[in-house]
């Protein structure tokens, strides 16, 4: 498979060489041989992977870059969820891009896989929110230029629930007052569970997925076992049995129900807002179920540089001097609805109360772990939650302990 793709690329490369009438020669196939007097940037093209939402703003930044430097930027649109896996697979083959849109939680694995290069941002870091830079920082090196911060929060239909609930029970009471009988808070679950959406509830029981060092970085030690984990498992079991949570409630169904205007609360992120355009909304902290603050995962999106880039200077220049500007960051915010990572853009965006509310919820969040071990956690975690909620795991504490043991074995 890989080879056939490469072959077609070679064929395409061969064809393009024929078409450009360039015989090739000096060993660097990415930059056509520049002659002494020609505008030298002309031959250089940097390649960038970008998802559909980000395509427009990045294209504008790229046009400006090309106009000023003569360096072309070839944008390749990919599905957001394909960006990471494809990047890891293709960078080692030499067919990867110079730059890609990336999320901070993948960085740990990318470092281990040798596909991402550190960026020297220098003073530029001061222009970005600390949490965003920290998320992309590993062992003192910054591996991405952030552009957006995202997290889940409690989306509240103001018409049905005028007050933000502080605890889960408050939310249940408010929902009952609004006439909701089945799901007081819509929490997308699905048959595979949804640990990401459930995480703030879990942290309210004091059961973080991994333990953190004093500086906020994550260790390989699981933190969600023990009594706090059991209490959360028991809670899932009880609420599942009571019908407040259900593995039948998929993302689509949850969004559809909330969009109907009959439900006061849903736990979700900014990506849902396009579906709720007709509703009066407020974004609040997620109600605590276990007594402690409910801390959602904070995800940071950014731009990352390939370790195998043949155009590091041009690519780094594009990232640090063009993609980092307030105008581009604001354009990215308008396209993606997520609060910007750049301070000036964030300040401007915060004039929209909803954006400011998202940011306020995110300020109490915790960064999603970016350590490679995190990749081993999701399936066990989600499946166990689903089994407890649906009642197939009759003893929630035992199921939770088995999950901890299985994850531990998988991490090795």
């Amino acid at each position: 498979m890989r080879r056939s793709i490469r072959l077609s690329i070679v064929t395409a490369a061969a064809a393009s060489l024929v078409l450009t009438g360039c015989g090739g020669g000096d060993g660097d196939d990415t930059a056509a041989t520049p002659t002494e007097d020609a505008a030298a940037g002309d031959g250089t093209t940097i390649t960038m992977w970008v998802d559909e939402t980000r395509l427009g703003p990045v294209q504008e930044a790229a046009d400006g870059f090309t106009a000023e430097t003569g360096i072309k930027v070839e944008l390749i649109q990919k599905n957001f969820e394909d960006l990471g896996p494809d990047f890891v697979a293709q960078v080692p083959t030499g067919e990867g891009p110079d730059i890609t849109v990336c999320t901070h939680d993948g960085i740990g694995g990318w470092i281990q896989n040798g596909v991402v290069a550190p960026l020297a941002l220098g003073d530029l870091t001061d222009q970005f929110e600390d949490v965003a830079i920290q998320a992309f920082t590993h062992d003192g090196q910054v591996f991405g230029l952030p552009y957006a911060i995202e997290n889940v929060g409690l989306i509240r239909n103001v018409d049905l629930a005028p007050e933000a609930p502080a605890t889960w029970d408050d939310a249940v009471a408010a929902a009952a007052a609004a006439g909701v009988t089945d799901f007081p808070v819509l929490v997308q679950t699905g048959t595979g569970g949804d640990p990401f959406t459930y995480y703030p509830i879990q942290t309210s029981f004091g059961a973080p997925v991994f333990e953190q060092n004093a500086d906020g970085s994550y260790t390989d030690t699981l933190g969600m076992g023990g009594d706090n984990g059991h209490a959360f498992a028991q809670w899932l079991h009880d609420k599942g049995a009571a019908g407040q949570l259900s593995t039948d409630l998929t993302y689509d169904l949850a969004v559809e129900k909330f969009a109907s205007g009959e439900y006061p609360f849903i736990i979700g992120g900014p990506w849902m807002l396009d579906s709720f355009k007709d509703l009066n909304l407020s974004i609040d902290a997620i109600p605590s179920a276990g007594g402690q603050p409910a801390q959602p995962f904070v995800g940071v999106q950014g731009f990352c540089l390939s370790s195998q880039s043949q155009n590091t200077v041009a690519a780094t220049n594009f990232i640090t001097n063009y993609l980092s500007t307030e105008a581009v960051q604001t354009a990215l915010f308008k396209a993606g609805n997520r609060p910007p990572a750049q301070r000036d853009a964030a300040a401007a965006a915060a004039s929209d109360p909803i954006v400011a509310q998202w940011a306020a919820v995110g300020a109490n969040g915790v960064p999603m772990p970016a350590i490679p071990a995190m990749a081993q956690v999701w399936t066990f975690w989600g499946d166990t939650q689903a089994a407890i909620i649906s009642g197939t795991a009759a003893d929630p504490a035992a199921a939770w302990d088995k999950m901890i043991a299985d994850i531990q074995a998988a991490i090795g």
Partner: protein, 541 residues
């Protein structure tokens, strides 16, 4: 006898002399032009692979190209022209893939061992080069004298380069550390003119970006002070590397602690005390992936259960779809039935819907609380179609029956219509009942033509990944297994999830390839035996 052979021989010889392998006819010229085009393309392919250092691809392309020319121009090999294109594509698209899978099965290719060793070393060195804490960014001028590159910065204080005061311009090259230069012009904090050097603009920098990216200008004679480098051509920073690669001994050295990291046989640099550097590379691990599949308790138990379900699933799928298809084909083959063309067309519908789409739709319809089946057809019953182990298996078989029977219906209809009327008529004259006719004549004749299709259908269902992935994703999970495998997982979907290809676990291409080979052997063996058996069916003719 002998004379005849001789005549034929001379005729052949004569024909060969005028063979169109070398005959300058119109056809030959067309061929020549086509071959020239193919050769041109091939040669550019060779150049491209040579330049990107892909030697395996280069060699393969060269062999294919030489073979093509030999075959199309040599007289003896000309008949090969009919099969050569097919053969070439078979090699590229099939045999190569199989060969590559075998190769990967014996490596630890996967997360943590994703790159080659030189790439891993490069990545480690990139990651180890850190900005010296507390140092600032310098607006930089990249300067050139002849072929030599240098960096010029404006000193912020005396620490920038020896003897400098703030505002002085310091210049250095890869060999010479930063030192003060006189007579330089500065604008906006950036040197714009340095006597004896040409200041490069961004375009010129980009055209030499490999050299610029590699340029490290030592801050002083003491390497401990680090060096300045410009990652983007406009700003420079002071960097210091914490790792050094020693090519002679093939080791990594931590410059701060002096720890020496040796490459181990798992494809990672490892120190005496067991600490490892983060980036690993692919190495051969022998039969380890195969033994993991069968001996690691976490995989071995589920593996046999999954294998049992896979075989049952494939067998039952073929059996149910074939029986339903045959039944319907027989019914709709009855000439007395009115409007059977319309019925037949309707029967084909499930076949016309893409399988993955149908499976997705079904997974929605079978949702316990909101699905169409429970809500509308069963009046709100909460039957866990996809979450109860046995019901999930039943649902998988049911959906596959819905998806698969039109195919069987089609081939059975075709086979039934091609049955010889005379045999059937003779049996009717002999007084055979309809059942007897079906059992002794139609069925045996039908099996002759459909048995190979049933076998290929078995092989297809054995690897029917789309259905399982879209319908249940293998769920519900085995409650007692320690790997994320479920009751409806078939071998290939199990491979997909245990090797992390679905992104929910660390990727392990080596294990995935090894398991795929096991699946390949099982399917291959079953098919080979079954095909051998079908020869017996033909004896009824």
């Amino acid at each position: 006898m002998a004379t005849t052979t001789k005549t034929v021989g001379t005729k052949q010889a004569k024909r060969e002399r005028t063979s169109h392998a070398t005959n300058w006819g119109r056809g030959f010229i067309v061929k020549l032009i086509l071959m020239m085009a193919i050769d041109a393309l091939g040669v550019y392919g060779l150049l491209a692979t040579w330049q990107t250092d892909q030697m395996g691809l280069f060699a393969g392309l060269a062999v294919l190209l030489v073979a093509a020319n030999y075959i199309y121009f040599a007289r003896r090999t000309l008949p090969l022209k009919y099969i050569y294109p097919g053969l070439a594509f078979l090699l590229v698209f099939q045999l190569f893939v199989i060969g590559y899978t075998f190769y990967v099965a014996f490596t630890n290719f996967g997360d943590g061992h994703n790159v080659t060793k030189p790439q891993a070393i490069e990545a480690l060195l990139q990651q180890a080069e850190r900005q010296v804490p507390g140092t600032n960014a310098y607006p930089v001028a990249v300067v050139e004298k002849g072929d030599e590159l240098g960096l010029a910065v404006v000193a912020q204080d005396g620490s920038t380069c020896a003897g400098a005061v703030a505002g002085d311009v310091c210049l250095g090259t890869a060999e010479d550390p930063l030192s003060v230069v006189d007579g330089a012009t500065v604008a906006n904090g950036r040197p714009t003119d340095v006597p004896g050097w040409q200041v490069l603009n961004l375009q010129q920098i980009i055209s030499r970006q490999d050299d610029v990216a590699d340029l490290r200008v030592p801050v002083s004679d003491d390497p401990e002070d680090g060096s300045i480098r410009t990652p983007d051509g406009t700003n420079a920073f002071e960097f210091k590397s914490t790792l050094e690669f020693d090519e002679a001994t093939d080791t990594m050295v931590d410059t701060a602690t002096g720890t020496v990291f040796h490459p181990n046989d798992r494809g990672q640099f490892e120190a005496e005390d067991g600490t490892r550097l983060p980036v690993g590379w692919r190495v051969s691990v022998g039969w380890e992936n195969f033994s993991t599949a069968f001996t690691d308790a976490r995989y071995a138990g589920p593996f046999w259960r999954v294998l049992a379900w896979t075989v049952s699933f494939a067998f039952l799928s073929v059996a149910t779809t074939f029986l339903l298809g045959l039944f319907l084909a027989t019914v709709f083959n009855e000439p007395r039935l009115k409007g059977r063309k319309i019925y037949r067309t309707l029967m084909i519908f499930p076949y016309a819907i893409p399988g993955f789409l149908a499976a997705l739709i079904w997974s929605g319809m079978l949702n316990r609380s909101f699905g169409f089946i429970n809500q509308v057809l069963l009046g709100g019953a909460a039957i866990p179609w996809l979450t109860d182990p046995w019901l999930a298996r039943l649902s998988v078989l049911g959906v596959n029956l819905w998806l698969g029977f039109p195919y069987m219906f089609l081939i059975c209809t075709g086979a039934l219509q091609s049955l010889p009327d005379d045999v059937l008529e003779a049996s009717r004259v002999d007084g055979a009942s309809a059942w007897r006719q079906f059992r002794s004549i139609k069925m045996p004749l039908l099996l002759v033509s459909t048995a190979p299709l049933l076998i290929s259908s078995f092989a297809f269902n054995f690897n029917n990944f789309t259905l399982i992935y879209m319908l249940t994703r293998g769920g519900p999970r085995f409650a007692d297994a320690s790997v994320p495998i479920g009751h409806t997982d078939i071998l290939i979907s199990m491979v997909y999830s245990v090797s992390g290809l679905d992104g929910t676990a660390a990727k392990n291409y080596g294990l995935a390839s090894a398991l795929s080979i096991v699946v390949f052997i099982v399917v291959g063996t079953v098919s080979a035996i079954a095909f051998r058996q079908t020869r017996k069916l033909e004896e009824v003719m």
